[in-house]
């Protein structure tokens, strides 16, 4: 095991992927608790698809991928949030429309410029090779911001997640915190997307929270457990993908799925006893 880990660590790209992945998993898990509980899970999924479209556009225009993707996805986060809050349009349907449209536009742009090739597949399903040194810096920056804001606003995020009307009524600007959560999610997704893949990144947001909720009963426990689980599953996913030469993003998702199944089974047994 130790041999394997030292071997893993001897590759610079693996080290980069580990740093970025651990930080992104941590942020995604923290934000995911609120998103899942507020029934906003689909926003994470929608944002990653928009991110895919933005990456394709950046590639076609020969611009740096993140410079295009971050602002585009941030704007999309705003829009998706407004749609979800507006009860006249059914939020889930609108999100599905936006996400499939961005995917379609992205695919057309790619096939028009470079043709469907390995790059496309990498964007959709992720590649561990995609992380450059600047990504490492960016992900450190983003995760410091996310974790700092999350800790500082923890009590407000809890209140807004549990009961938005009450929190609004007692004078907290709930929209501000919703927007904050959406923007932080957008940044996390953009940073993690090229490694995990546009189609798979939302699992980092949804799985840890959902898994933790099987067993843990207070908000604090769920948040802490999500953060820990998310990092463990990510590292395990990388190791598995290295041993069996599986795609990285998919391995991480499958490990998350297994953990979820395990936790669900335990909670089922606990209920029977």
């Amino acid at each position: 095991m130790i041999e394997l880990l030292t071997e893993l660590m001897s590759y610079a790209f693996v080290v980069r992927a580990l740093i970025v992945g651990v930080l992104v998993s941590l942020c995604a898990a923290l934000l995911g608790v609120s998103l899942v509980l507020k029934r906003y899970s689909m926003i994470g999924d929608g944002l990653s698809h928009v991110g895919f479209g933005a990456l394709a556009l950046a590639m076609a225009l020969n611009l740096s991928p993140l410079e295009v993707a971050i602002p585009v996805v941030a704007v999309a986060a705003f829009v998706l949030l407004r749609i979800s809050e507006n009860s006249r349009i059914k939020g889930d349907a609108a999100i599905a429309l936006i996400s499939s449209s961005s995917l379609a536009i992205g695919v057309i742009i790619i096939s028009y410029t470079s043709g469907m090739n390995a790059d496309t597949s990498n964007y959709m399903f992720g590649s561990i090779l995609a992380m450059s040194e600047s990504d490492v810096f960016l992900s450190v920056g983003v995760s410091v911001v996310v974790i700092l804001l999350y800790v500082l606003f923890y009590n407000k995020i809890f209140a807004v997640t549990f009961d938005e009307s009450f929190t609004r009524a007692t004078g907290t600007n709930a929209s501000r915190y919703n927007t904050l959560i959406a923007l932080l999610t957008a940044m996390t997704i953009v940073v993690g997307m090229r490694m995990m893949g546009a189609l798979l990144i939302s699992s980092l947001i949804i799985f840890p929270a959902l898994t933790s909720m099987r067993l843990f009963k207070t908000f604090k426990q769920v948040v802490i457990s999500s953060a820990i689980l998310s990092v463990i599953c990510f590292v395990a996913g990388i190791v598995v993908s290295f041993i069996f030469s599986f795609p990285t993003g998919a391995s991480v998702v499958v490990i998350n799925l297994l953990t979820f199944t395990l936790f669900s089974t335990i909670s089922l047994f606990k209920k029977k006893i």
Binding site: L37, F158, F162, D163, S165, G171, F219, V222
Partner: protein
């Protein structure tokens, strides 16, 4: 002393007037019940009072109470039913309006939350998860949270919907006790006319506009009340 006075308040969605020219005063110590059929604008009025929706016309004036000092007991949402949160976490979140921009709760807020839980007899379940509680216990928890947020006014939006008769009676008595012994003003939106008459000293009957506002004794004399009571008895 008037805590809240509403003058000619009109609130609408999409061009429709949900609340039309409603005026009433809420005096300190009152137990005001807001009654009316579904769609008569009760919940919209509550949202207007809480500042969640802006009235298009009219004015809502607060005296001796800040708009964010209302202890609001909202209708339960779907989200809350399976929410992983301990009773303590929920109750103390009512203290948020005392913190302003400060990030964490101090000893003061923790003591306040503990005190309210004791008052409502939920101290022994404080570590339990909110989603594992019965409907009545959940309402007590939300009431404790509302009491953390206010010293003066409780605003309850259909607090007994979904509760069984024993829990309902229990909650009504609890609220009446808070009103009588602690002088907390109560405004309750309710479907339950009988209890409204039994506990409230004032009634606001809404039919989008004000159909009646005044003391419970006067309300009992109105034809509208007698007809409604008749309907409820024949149910």
């Amino acid at each position: 002393m008037k805590l809240i006075s509403c003058v000619g308040v009109t609130i609408g969605y999409d061009g429709q007037r949900a609340v039309n020219n409603v005026s009433f005063d809420l005096e300190q110590g009152d137990y005001l019940c807001v009654v009316g059929e579904n769609g008569s604008g009760k919940s919209t009025l509550v949202k207007g009072l809480l500042g969640l929706i802006k009235p298009q016309e009219g004015s809502i004036t607060f005296d001796g109470i800040a708009p964010n000092e209302i202890g609001y007991l909202p209708q339960q949402t779907v989200i809350q039913r399976d929410f992983p949160a301990s009773v303590t976490e929920v109750v103390i979140s009512g203290c948020l309006n005392r913190r302003g921009l400060l990030p964490f709760y101090s000893r003061l807020e923790k003591a306040r939350a503990a005190d309210k839980m004791k008052q409502l007899n939920i101290t022994d379940i404080k570590k339990k998860s909110y989603r594992d509680l019965s409907g009545g216990q959940q309402q007590r928890v939300l009431l404790a949270r509302a009491l953390c947020a206010t010293e003066k006014l409780l605003l309850l939006d259909e607090p007994v919907s979904g509760l069984d008769p024993v829990m309902t009676a229990d909650l009504y008595q609890l609220v009446a006790k808070l009103n009588q012994t602690q002088g907390i003003t109560v405004m309750m939106v309710s479907h339950d006319l009988e209890s409204a008459i039994k506990y409230g000293n004032k009634i606001l009957h809404m039919k989008t506009a004000t159909a009646f506002f005044g003391s419970t004794e006067d309300y009992l004399k109105t034809e509208m009340c007698q007809r409604m009571m008749g309907v409820q008895k024949h149910d």
